[in-house]
Amino acid sequence: MKQANKKMVFKTLGIVGLMTAFTFAMVPLYNVFCEITGINGKVLVSKELYEKVEVDKSRVVTVELITSIHRGMPWKFETTKHKIDVHPGELNEVMFYAKNLSGKTITGQAVPSVAPSQASFYVSKTECFCFDQQTLLAGEEINMPMKFYIDPDLPKSVHTVTMSYQLFNATSDESAAAAGQ
């Protein structure tokens, strides 16, 4: 190959390499972007303190709670209430229930999401099972509280906030996970 051609081939291959790297870099970038901007309902999973905020009694926001289970996860995972009406600013508590239906010890992790996405900044949780993992023995059941409050700055256009939790298998022991499925 001529020298000039070789140089040009390497330059173009460089672009190909850069774009490949960029594609995989999009994954973390995308998550960072969504967490910072709060679009897409991605919420920062972090514990917040309940500051004494003024409760806006004049406003009612409907909070819907949805639970779902990742395919192959042998647990029962439910919420005791599917819908509650809350005032922005007040601290609310809801209960979730989980039961390990399999014959093995399994660790679960719930991944939260908030819709509509513009509400995701205004939902603050002081206590949530989604902050850490739960390990349940075979047949064990557990009631898990979740405490949250809605920031009174929630945009006026939002009347309903949906909080969903999907539970997936986080058992590190692969044989246990395989047996569970």
């Binding site: 897409n40 991605k42 990742h70």
Partner: protein
């Protein structure tokens, strides 16, 4: 002479490093894929002739739409343009051949294997759960969690096509940058070369993105990653972002070379130089640049913030500006020209008019509030078929009619060529125009059944599709007939108004090694 020995028979084609041989193989491969993908389209139209389920199971119908899209995009349109680039670029820039002839051979011979992998998924004994059925856009998690086993063959097929396209693009860039005849500065390059260089840059930038997306699919399916799985911390919407970051430049990859072709044919038959050459170059480059920053207009319904929707809407509409520049330049080229209507000119004119129509429905789709209603309806199908069939495919057909006498040394049958044109243009409108109406009335795409009220439009579309499909066999006959002698010898200039090195400096048929000595360009 070193190049005196040519192997004959099958070895000529297997081992060839000649740009004309490889170009021909690309074009024949593309036409074969065009017929296979076309047969699938006819299968779709057969089912949609009447509401209800007549011919196919819904899952097989989904397979047909998926495979039709994949084969037409990656098997028909893209290889056709690479084939034209191979044939034309060395002749147009005054080079003997492409810069990297062995890689050229390799990039072609990957393709039959890629498409064998893809088509194997249709073999039922191998894959009882069927071929890919998730649409050519293969959105996750439909293609990851719920994709059939054959999805892995599809993934490796896409990897191979990607490698082939990247190598083809690198070859074009190196050839154009290093092998131009003395005196041919960048701003003297023929438009087809310009549009192809820009296309090549798009290709090397977005094919890795596609390869990355399917690799993530592969690891999600088999190696326990969760790129697109919300439960594992991934995000299915991210798949759409990555896919369309590839997908939108891809649609310009499928049209820019056709822009170049029209910029050769219209001046020739108007007997005037191209109006606004420099603005054509800059317009093409701006379209290519803008194609990278508008991808999310394909996904207005995923729930974006209003600011995002506004940005993508406005950025998308801005593309109409450089595209409009091109359209007006073609019209201005024809203005007061002494126009004749040979077959290539007819196809090029149909290209300008119908591509504009597809572009206008594109501007409609760019409007977020309107798009939310049009999304995933036949209006979208009408839009992208108007830019792809009368755009990319008419462009290719026009190029073949225009340069075939130069390639073979023989004239094709002009009367039959015109018959082919009139059948094609009537059929293409009969097929795709009614889809605007059925789409606006709410008919969804990718569904084998539909409401009774859409029956009339669908019957028109189906009749048109069969007419369109079968009239392309006339094109096949015309090309073979021309290769075998056609209507007599072509002159070296071929067309009265033809410009460019391939017409002014080379005999017809063009010699095996285009320019043994570089021509002088003033």
């Amino acid at each position: 002479m070193a190049h005196g020995h040519h192997p004959t028979g099958i070895k000529r084609w297997l081992f060839t490093t000649n740009h004309k041989d490889i170009g021909s193989m690309y074009l024949w491969f593309s036409f074969t894929m065009f017929l296979i993908g076309g047969a699938m389209a006819l299968g779709i139209r057969l089912e949609l002739f009447q509401p209800g389920l007549q011919f196919w199971e819904p899952n097989f119908f989904n397979t047909l739409t998926t495979m039709h899209g994949l084969i037409m995009v990656f098997g028909a349109v893209m290889p056709a343009f690479v084939g034209l680039a191979n044939w034309l670029i060395p002749m147009q820039i005054g080079a003997p051949d492409m810069a990297l002839p062995r890689m050229n051979n390799f990039s072609f011979w990957i393709l039959p294997f890629a498409f064998t992998l893809l088509l194997l998924s249709l073999v039922t004994p191998l894959f009882p759960d069927g071929a890919p059925n998730f649409g050519w856009t293969f959105y996750a998690p439909l293609s990851t969690k719920f994709g059939p086993a054959s999805t892995d063959f599809f993934i490796f097929g896409v990897h191979l096509m990607g490698i082939s396209s990247i190598m083809g693009a690198i070859n074009v860039i190196v050839t154009v940058m290093n092998m131009r005849a003395p005196g041919m500065s960048l701003m003297k390059m023929p438009m087809f070369v310009w549009t192809w260089v820009i296309t090549a840059f798009l290709l090397i930038m977005v094919m890795p993105v596609l390869a990355g997306a399917v690799t993530m699919m592969l690891t999600d399916r088999h190696f326990g990653t969760s790129f697109f799985d919300a439960a594992g911390g991934g995000d299915p919407v991210m798949f759409q972002h990555i896919f369309w970051f590839f997908g939108h430049p891809e649609v310009y990859i499928m049209i820019l070379p056709a822009f170049g072709i029209a910029s050769h044919i219209i001046p020739t038959f108007s007997r005037k130089p191209l109006f606004g050459y420099a603005s054509m170059v800059y317009a093409t480059a701006s379209i290519a640049f803008l194609s990278f920053v508008v991808w999310a207009h394909h996904m207005f319904t995923v729930g974006m913030p209003v600011a995002g929707e506004l940005y993508f809407m406005i950025a998308t509409m801005i593309i109409a500006v450089p595209t409009g520049v091109k359209i007006f330049n073609w019209v201005a080229t024809m203005w007061q020209g002494s126009i004749t209507f040979e077959t290539p000119m007819l196809f090029a004119l149909a290209f300008v008019v119908l591509f504009t129509l597809g572009g206008v429905s594109g501007v409609m789709l760019a409007m977020t509030p309107v798009d939310k209603q049009y999304h995933d309806t036949y209006f979208v199908v009408a839009h992208f078929h108007y830019v792809l069939f009368p755009g990319a495919i008419f462009g290719t057909i026009a190029a073949v009619y225009y340069w075939l006498p130069k390639w073979t040394g023989n004239m094709y049958n002009e009367t039959l060529g015109k018959v082919h044109f009139w059948f094609s243009i009537i059929a293409v409108n009969l097929t795709f125009f009614p889809m605007h109406f059925s789409g606006l009335a709410g008919m969804q795409r990718r569904v084998p059944d539909y409401n009774m009220m859409f029956e009339g439009f669908n019957q028109l579309s189906s009749i048109g599709a069969f007419m369109l499909g079968f009239s392309q066999l006339l094109f096949l006959y015309l090309v073979i007939n021309c290769i075998r002698g056609g209507k007599g010898k072509a002159t070296d200039r071929v067309w009265e108004g033809a410009e460019g090195l391939e017409f002014t400096h080379l005999p017809s048929p063009a010699p095996y090694h285009s320019f043994e000595q570089a021509p002088e360009v003033k």
